[in-house]
């Protein structure tokens, strides 16, 4: 049914302050045949990578706004060009914030409604399965995944939210363990329980939860690896 991507070459971008890059590299390296490397923020090219991941962390100490300074790193020009050409770009947590600040994804991640940094498992309902990151999943699947953020409250104005919904750009939504999208299941106040979105073309995807933190049996949860496996299949 699915075939492995030939010569999967994963580049994980490292900004000063990134702290999930090693985990992400490690999990990507578990994919059969994958070559992985870190890409320092000063590099001006992604080389022959065919998958770029912006990891979680606190790039530039979250100064000014989360992701605002990272956007001007030399590597982001290369990431934008790569995305423009249809390359697959994934932003996890801070990586998602960097993608919105770079205008590769719409909206912004505001501080959590509760004012607290939240670190816990949440459930996500898969809303779209025709993009690289979710093509191995089924619509309506419920994934358990940890979040760890202070600014994960997805916001865009009414018009932009309506456009995202109409275009089917909401990829994953916070839900309860049965898949019901409820206010109680929304950890941070995100509009429409949005946990992750893609661009119109579907090749750029950002999410607040951390798939790389739940990708191995030893950690008791491998739901996140389903995202990585999707990225490695056609």
């Amino acid at each position: 049914m699915t075939t492995a991507v030939q010569n999967l070459k994963v580049g994980v971008v490292v900004f000063p302050g990134s702290n999930c890059d090693r985990d992400t590299l490690h999990v990507a390296s578990l994919l059969p045949g994958a070559q992985v490397r870190s890409v320092w923020h000063k590099e001006t090219s992604l080389g022959d990578c065919n998958l770029a991941i912006l990891p979680g962390g606190f790039s530039y100490g979250d100064y000014l706004r989360c992701g605002a300074i990272a956007r001007f790193s030399p590597v982001m020009k290369a990431v934008a060009d790569f995305a423009q050409k249809g390359g697959t770009v994934i932003g996890i947590c801070n990586g998602f914030q960097v993608l919105t600040e770079s205008h590769l994804l719409p909206g912004v991640l505001l501080p959590n409604e509760s004012r607290k940094f939240i670190c816990k498992n949440v459930h996500l309902r898969v809303e779209r399965t025709d993009i690289p990151a979710t093509r191995g999943l089924n619509k309506g699947d419920v994934l358990k995944m940890p979040i760890a953020h202070g600014d994960g409250n997805f916001f865009a104005d009414e018009e932009a939210i309506a456009r995202l919904e109409k275009n089917g750009q909401v990829v994953v939504r916070y839900c309860d363990e049965r898949g019901n999208v409820t206010a109680e299941a929304n950890p941070n106040g995100a509009r429409n329980n949005i946990a992750g979105i893609c661009n119109e073309r579907g090749n750029v995807f950002g999410l607040m939860p951390h798939p790389e933190r739940c990708s191995e049996d030893i950690l008791g949860n491998t739901d996140g690896f389903r995202i990585f496996k999707s990225l490695a299949t056609l």
């Binding site: 000014l64 706004r65 605002a68 001007f72 919105t100 600040e101 909206g107 912004v108 505001l110 501080p111 959590n112 409604e113 509760s114 004012r115 409250n153 916001f155 865009a156 104005d157 106040g189």
Partner: protein, 83 residues
Amino acid sequence: MKTQVTVTLKNGILDPQGKAVEHALHSLGFAGVRGVRIGKFIEIEMDAPATEQAKKDAEEMCKKLLANPVMENYRVTVAEQGK
């Protein structure tokens, strides 16, 4: 030339920090406090031949970096010549 930039949250954007301060002010007895919004104040020292140029440059900086138009407004004021 000294340029001052004030970045504020747009109306309707939740400001949890402002809310927390509002509650603290209430508990201090300032019962009349109706709302608190917290923004950023940025002071920029720059070389510019004229006030208009400094203002224009600062506005450009706001658009490109200092403010995010999805959630913030900005206001630029240039201190008159001198210190």
